[in-house]
Each structure stands twice: as C-alpha cells, then as structure tokens.
C-alpha cells in the first residue's frame, strides 16, 4: 500500500491549485455583446469579412442549433450552461498587421514565453539545426490568429497553413468544398453551435504528393474573461500527402467556467496520411472544482481515399469537463485509423472521452490504445464505438483500454460499443482496471530498484504505448505544458 501512497503524493504534487499557467495577461480586446442571436452570428461573420455563402451557412447552423437539445448521455455532471450569458466574439486589440514577431504586442509574446513556446527561437531554428525538424506555429490568442510563422517556407512546398478566416478569403473553393463535409452543421449540439459562431482556427491544405516539411503546430489559449472559444480546424491531405499537426492548450485561471466547443475536421484522400496530436491542459478548476474549462469538442477524420491513414494522439490533463471523441470514418478501402490517448484526471475533473472507428471500406484497419489514470475525486470514462459496416470485408480492429485508479474516491469507467455486420471482420477489445499490482512492485523491489523508481517504471510502462506516438518536439513541450511528466516527475 505504501506504493500507492507514493503515487498519490506524486499526483498530488501537481495539485490543481498550483496550476502553473493560471495567469491573466492584460490585452485590450474587442468583445461582441453577450448572448447569441442571428445578429450576433451576422456580426461575427461581418467582422471577418466573410462571403455571403458562409454567413448563410452559419445562420443555417444557428437555426438548427435552436432546435437541438444539449446531450446528457456522457458521464459528466456540471451546472447548466447559460448560452445567452457568454460573449461569442473576442478579438485582441488590432495591431497594424504585424510583419514580424517584433511588431507583435509584447504582452502577448510574454504570455507565450510563460507558456514556454519559443516562437522566436523556432523561427531562427527553422531548418537550421541538425537533427531537429522545424516547427511552424500558428498562434491563436483568443479568437484571432495573430501571427503565423514559417509561411514562406511552407509556401515553397505548396502547403497552405493559415487561419481559417484567411483561408475563406484566399482559398474559398477549398474551404467551401470541405468545410462541414466531415462534421456537418447538423451533427451535434456543440458542433452545430460551433458552426454558427466559430471564431477562428487553422486551415491546412497539403497538395498532392507533398510530404509537409515540418510539424505544424497551433497553440490555443482562452484569455478574455467569459468568452467561449469556438475554433474550427480544417486539415486536408490531398492524394499521397503527409502532414503532422500539433495542438497544445493552456488557459489562465478563472473563477467562472469557460466554454470551449471546437470542431476539427480532417480529410485524407488516396494514400494520404494525417497525424494529429493534442496536449490539452486547460484550467481544471480549483481543488473544490470551481472554475475550470468545459471542453466539448467534436473531432473527426475522414479517410476518404484508398490507403488513407488518420492517427489521433491525445494527452488530456486539463479542463474541468472533457467531452471529446476523436473519430475516424474509414471510407476508403485499406484505410487505417488510429487513436492513442492518455487521460489523466485529478481533483474534481470529469473526463468522458474515447473514439469512434467506423469501418466502411474493405480491409480497413483500426487500433485504439487508451490509458486512463484517475486520482483525487475525479471521474474518468472511456467511451468508444467500433462499428463494422456490411461492406467492410476483411476489416480489423484492435482495442485496448486500461485504467489505473489512485485512491478510492475517484472512478474509472469503460463503455465500449462493438457493432459488427460483417463476418470476415475481426474485432477485438480488451480492457483492464487495476491499481499498481503488488506483484509488479515486488518484482521491481526484489531486483533492487528503490520504490520511487519502481513506480516510475511501472507507470511509465503503463502509458508508454501512447507517449511513443507523440512527435519528439511535442514530447518536450508536453512536459513543460502539463507540469507533470509521467516520464520525468515520477522517475
């Protein structure tokens, strides 16, 4: 039992009260009035100089949203959200179109510095340093992308990486063709709300046969008081293209709950591959559970072409409420979907996350590895669906979800759904829930490892399958961002 005590201490040492990124930077911002109605939707659209079709698209979503009910099936419990008591648009103070980082508001840069994103460094490092690939960062401060680096470098390869608001103007044909084609405006309550009011987000298009020369990275940060942030990300990998996209998040400490309802759409055409990695460390609320971000995200990838591949990797450590199910629609024959997840919950956090693998094409394969670690008074639920359609001959799925409980005031739940309509498909699911086993501890101790190292070894082994999926650069940032590194802090 002493072993458990150690682990408890380690997790407590990252106590939510000591949330490292709970600061507020003071930047003047432009707010839309509170509440939501057709005028607000038009206001947001007008603010962004959007074309008529997009305004109509938003309005259609808004009208649809009004007829929908908030979903209640997830194992999360939170006070009702007053959707009329939120600002749906906040833009940082306009600067005169910064041409370089020097022109950017220093307070903003300072914020990033505290977050540990070496924007400047990274620009200098671009393609210079041996062995380390450059990372392009599209920094989103509240709702508007302020600075986009590496554009020139990417343009050389024909890769489009810009805020989606810009893409609407510069590449309307692409946006119009793909926006809402994976997550339609009728999809679900939060996705529909997002469609109506989405603020900004990233747009990536990788042309045929191009292997994106660097990892693309976006930092989201909710900043303005009482603003919901509604990102919309759209990533398209054309035939034979490859792109790896990184998303990381931290948010400042707040008393009031902040709503976050993002939508991410991935489209992989023939032979294309998209790798999407997330580290989410928004404010989880204090130890009593007040404050904290409500994170209701719809993420979905569509393997539209043959041999396409989409891989989701997520490290979920923040937010008071997480409601997130990155999914793959395996439409093209031989396409592949992957989902790797580490979800750590502490304090009074509630996580309800998982994935959906929809096998539609022949010989489609999918793999799900989910690791949940539950501590404090938190609740950690894996909820997933593996569905094999009638025509998905030869489909193959393997699912493994393991949960580790630390303390007896938390909960770990597993709710998988398996639906097979094809005899030649093979679907396998396994799940375990346990504490660190006495046998494992005994074995390690008996080999002369100190207790602390033994725990590190075991916990490390527990999440390793997923940690290995993170890109190298992100691994480093992950450690900075989440303040807990299962690799480092325990060992």
């Amino acid at each position: 039992m002493a072993a458990v005590k150690e682990t408890v201490d380690q997790v407590l040492s990252i106590d939510v009260d000591k949330y490292k990124y709970g600061f507020v930077s003071d930047i003047e911002s432009e707010l839309a009035p509170k509440g939501l109605n057709e005028d607000i939707v038009r206001f947001i659209s007008a603010k962004k100089d959007e074309p008529e079709w997009l305004t109509e698209w938003r309005l259609e979503a808004y009208r649809r949203w009004q007829t929908m009910e908030e979903p209640t099936w997830a194992r999360v419990d939170y006070p009702p959200i007053d959707f009329q008591d939120l600002h749906y648009y906040a833009a940082p103070k306009k600067t005169q179109g910064p041409k370089s980082l020097d022109e950017v508001d220093p307070a903003l840069l300072d914020t990033y510095k505290k977050l540990g994103i070496p924007l400047k460094e990274q620009e200098i490092l671009a393609g210079v340093e041996q062995g380390q690939r450059p990372v392009a960062v599209d920094a989103v401060f509240d709702s508007v992308s302020v600075v986009t680096t590496f554009k020139a470098e990417l343009a050389k390869h024909g890769v489009i990486f810009c805020p989606i608001s810009e893409a609407v103007r510069t590449h309307p044909e692409l946006v119009r063709k793909y926006l809402g084609s994976v997550v339609p405006i009728t999809d679900n309550f939060y996705a529909t709300l997002n469609s109506a009011v989405f603020s900004d987000g990233s747009f990536v298009y990788v042309p045929k046969g191009v292997r994106c020369p660097m990892e693309l990275s976006t930092y989201f940060r909710i900043n303005e008081k009482k603003t919901g942030q509604f990102e919309r990300t759209l990533i398209i990998a054309d035939e034979g293209a490859y792109v790896s996209y990184l998303e990381g998040c931290t948010a400042p400490s707040r008393d009031e709950n902040q709503l976050h309802a993002a939508v991410v759409e991935l489209i992989a055409l023939d032979d294309a591959e998209i790798k999407y990695s997330t580290v989410q460390n928004w404010y989880p609320g204090d130890s009593e559970g007040t404050g904290g971000v409500f994170n209701f995200v719809t993420k979905r990838g569509d393997c539209r072409g043959r041999n396409a591949k989409i891989s989701w990797t997520q490290v979920e450590t923040g937010s008071a409420i997480t409601w997130k199910y990155p999914s793959c629609i395996l439409r093209g024959d031989n396409s592949r979907g992957e989902f790797y997840s580490i979800a750590i919950s502490n304090g009074r956090q509630q996580v309800d996350s998982g994935t959906k693998m929809i096998h539609l094409g022949k010989n489609t394969t999918s793999k799900i590895i989910s690791k949940g670690i539950s501590a404090g008074r938190s609740s950690n639920t894996y909820r997933g669906l593996v569905s094999v359609g009638r025509k998905a001959s030869g489909a193959r799925n393997f699912t493994n979800c393991d949960s580790l409980l630390i303390g007896n005031k938390c909960g770990a739940h597993t709710v998988p759904y398996i639906e097979s309509k094809n005899a030649s498909a093979i679907v396998e699911h396994e799940a375990t829930t346990s504490k660190i086993s006495d046998d494992q501890m005994f074995y390690c101790l008996q080999r002369g490892l100190p207790q602390e190292e033994a725990i590190a070894l075991i916990v490390n082994g527990f999440v390793k399958d997923v940690l290995q999926q993170l890109p190298m650069e992100f691994m480093v940032e992950t450690q900075k961002l989440i303040g807990i590194s299962l690799e480092g802090s325990v060992g």
Partner: protein, 449 residues
C-alpha cells in the same frame, strides 16, 4: 404527454389489458398496489426504444408487434407429452403450464429434507408477508420494462425454499410450457431462497408447443444465503415465432458460490436479463451463457452485476453463434463501489458470425470506484478461423461437419463450466441437434458432388 408518439399496437393492447385484468390477477390489495406502480411506469414511458440506453440494441417499440391476451388453462394431455430437458428422473420436474403451476403434473414425491415448494399465486392471495417482501426490488430493476411487465401481469410461479444446511443433490427442473392457439402471453415469477450453507441446482426450461407468437415473461429471484451453493441453468427453447423475456435477479451472500448459465436456443425475439449483486464478502460467482441464432432471430443478453462487497470474485463468459440474418446483442455491466476492495472480475464476450448477413453487437462496460481491484473485460467478433477449417478439411472432413466441430469447440468453453454432468450433457445434446440441422441445411444447399 404531448411528446410521446402515437401508441404502437402492442402498447394499445397493454393499455387495454391491464385495467381489465388487474383485479382478477392473484393477490391482495397490497399486491395490486405493487402491480399498479409497475404498470404506471410502463404507461408513462411506453415501451423502450433504441434511444433508451438499456434497450439500444433491442428496440421493443419497433420489434414487439402485438401483446397477446393472457393464456387460458393448458391442455393437460399435450403438456404431458412435452419432453423435459433432463431425461428420466435425473431431475425433479415442476411444471408451469400457461403461466400456472401444476402440482398434479409435478414430481413432488419424497421431497428432500429442507426443500419446500409452493405456489406463488396462493401466497399472493394469502398476503404472505415474506413473499410480499420478496416482491420488492431496487428502483432500477423494478423500472426495467421486462420486470415491470412481469410484476404487473404475473399469474403464478414457484416459491422454493431450501432450509439452512440442506443439501439438495437432485436438480430441480422447472418446465415452462406454453400451449394452445391463438398466441397468448404468460408472466411467471419464481422466488427462490437458498439458506445458509444449503445447496441447490435449479434448471429452468422454457418451451412452447405451438408455432405461434406466444409471449413468455419469466422472472426468477434467487437469494443465495451465506455459504450457499447455487447452480442455475436456463434452457430457452421456444420456436422462432415466440417472444421470450427472462430475468434473473440474484443476491449473493457471504462466501456463497453462485453460478448461472443461460442457453438462448430459441424464440424470434429473446431477451435474457441478469441483475446480480454481491451482498456479502468473499463470495464467488460465474455468469455464463451461449446464444445460437439462425433465420431472422434476435437475441439480447443483458447483465448487470454489482460487486457490492469486498473480496468477491466473478467470471463472466458469453458466447454467441450467429447465422443467416440473425442479430445478437450483449450488454454487460460490472459496477464496483468504492468500498468493494479486492474485487476480481473478468468479463468476456465472443461472437462468431457464420453468414454475410449476421450481426453482432457488444457493450461490455466497467464502472469502477475502488482502487485495489482487478477488473478486465474482453470482446471479440469474427468468423470461423480459416486455418482451423483448412486443417479439418485437409483431414477429409466435410465442410459442414468441420464447421460444426469448430462451433461446438467455440461454445464448449462456456458449456464445460457447467458443473452438473447431467445438465451439461442435456445441453450438449441440444447444441448438437442445432448444429445437425444447420449442417444438413448447408449440405442440401451445396451442389451435389
């Protein structure tokens, strides 16, 4: 309720039946009050549909076309020719025909010491306090549609008690027979109490003699006392036209051993539910079952187990073989409260799809609040392994037979856990008959060599 869609024919039939029958059903005013509460719940929500999580894969509103009238008295001559699952006198037969216990057709000779059998209807009429208390269920179970229908319409059943320390070696077999035309419905409830250190093997056979859409709703409540040893096996053998709902509620005491096995071999629409709870520490339980489906049949197995005491161990194993256009659904849920440390639970479900149109659904769920536990679940779904098949074919075994061998081996893992040899053999006999029918149909379909 403005939001409720128009009532389906089955719901209309239910709404018409209950008020007409409620006072003629057995029981005192207290019983009527319990029935009213149960039926009120159904009236309010209607039959469950796929949006109701517990019935996600078995949409009763869509699947239940009608709700036939209550069954009349059964024809004794026909009941007598019905074959029990257990040959000869290997088991003590108790007959429930068309929803009524028939002592005159049952084997009540030389009852073992400590074994008592009497009619539920009589106990309800007499207002027996212990029986009334045993009708009380926890809220979630009571609200379950199959349970609520049973509570509202139950006509009879058996009250079986095994006194403390009594060891009943000879299995007790309850034979449920539905007989007669047109289609009718029955609701039967059994209350079984096995005392401290007592032992009982209980077999339930569910049959229908006619190929009409009989509805049967059988609910068995078993109270396994401290150190008791209870083995429960249900063989569900109705024809394809039938609708069959069975519910087992089990409360497992300290250091008790409890096993239940459900063989879903019949009925066009079958739902087998288990609601079990460990109420004392150091107990052990096994929950197993097989489902064999062909044609357009639909079978649903739903298990909810509350590991409500420390240091209990459970094993769950459910296997399904699905042919033609049949559909099988399994939903298993194991809940471990925070105080139930040292829980050890392992749930496994496997489905074998034998045709292009067969469908399998599984939802193995874990809900855990205790940290010092070992819980796992597994689920698989696939076709017969080609390598294994090839091996047998290369040994000169015909394809249909080779498949039968592999299917039997697949199911055997669960069947072989049945402790009572006679019961085991009786089940294997049924499974082999099913496989033989399938194999000969396959052969007939194949072009002549």
């Amino acid at each position: 309720m403005a939001a409720t869609p128009a009532r389906t024919p089955a719901e209309q039939a239910l709404a018409a039946r209950y008020p007409a029958e409620r006072t003629s059903l057995p029981g005192t005013a207290d019983v009527i009050a319990i029935r009213d509460a149960a039926f009120g719940g159904i009236e309010k929500t209607g039959l469950p549909h796929r949006r109701v999580e517990d019935w996600k894969y078995t949409d009763l509103r869509a699947r239940l076309k009608t709700f036939p009238p209550a069954a009349g008295p059964a024809d004794v001559a026909r009941v007598l020719i019905a074959r029990p699952a257990m040959e000869g006198d290997k088991a003590r037969r108790l007959v429930v025909a068309n929803g009524r216990y028939r002592p005159e057709l049952s084997d009540l000779e030389n009852l073992e010491d400590g074994l008592a059998v009497f009619s539920l209807a009589k106990a309800l009429e007499a207002g027996d306090a212990a029986v009334l208390a045993a009708l009380k269920l926890d809220e979630a179970t009571a609200a379950n549609t199959a349970v609520a229908l049973n509570t509202a319409f139950m006509t009879d059943g058996l009250v079986i008690t095994v006194a403390d320390g009594a060891v009943v070696e000879r299995p007790v077999e309850i034979v449920h027979i539905a007989e007669g035309e047109p289609a009718a419905s029955t609701a039967v409830r059994h209350l079984v109490t096995v005392g401290r250190g007592a032992k009982l093997t209980l077999i339930e056979t569910v049959e229908s003699l006619d190929t009409v859409a009989h509805h049967s709703n059988i609910m068995t409540v078993i109270e396994a006392g401290e150190e008791a040893d209870v083995d429960h096996i249900r063989l569900q053998l109705e024809p394809d036209e039938a609708v069959s709902m069975t519910t087992l509620v089990a409360r497992i005491g300290r250091q008790a051993t409890f096993d239940t096995f459900n063989a879903a071999l019949g009925a066009g629409l079958a739902r087998a539910q288990v609601f079990a709870e460990f109420v004392g520490r150091d107990a052990e339980a096994g929950f197993r079952g097989i489902t064999m489906l062909s044609g357009r049949r639909h079978a649903d197995t739903t298990l909810s187990l509350i590991h409500g005491a420390e240091n209990c161990r459970s094993r769950e194993l459910y296997k399904a073989v699905i042919d033609d256009e049949a559909r099988s659904a399994f939903a298993g849920r194991i809940a471990v409260p925070a105080f139930a440390q040292k829980t050890d639970a392992r749930m496994m479900t496997a489905s074998l799809l034998l045709s292009e149109e067969a469908e399998a659904y599984a939802k193995p769920e874990l809900e855990i609040f205790a940290d010092d536990v070992q819980c796992g679940h597994g689920a698989t779904c696939g076709a017969i392994n080609e390598d294994l098949l090839f091996y047998l074919l290369s040994r000169g075994i015909a394809k249909a037979e080779a498949e039968s061998m592999l299917i039997l081996a697949f199911l055997g893992e669960a069947i072989d856990e049945i402790q009572d040899q006679a019961v085991h053999d009786a089940l294997i006999h049924r499974v082999e008959a099913w496989l033989k029918t399938r194999a000969s149909a396959r052969k007939a379909g194949e072009p002549a060599a």
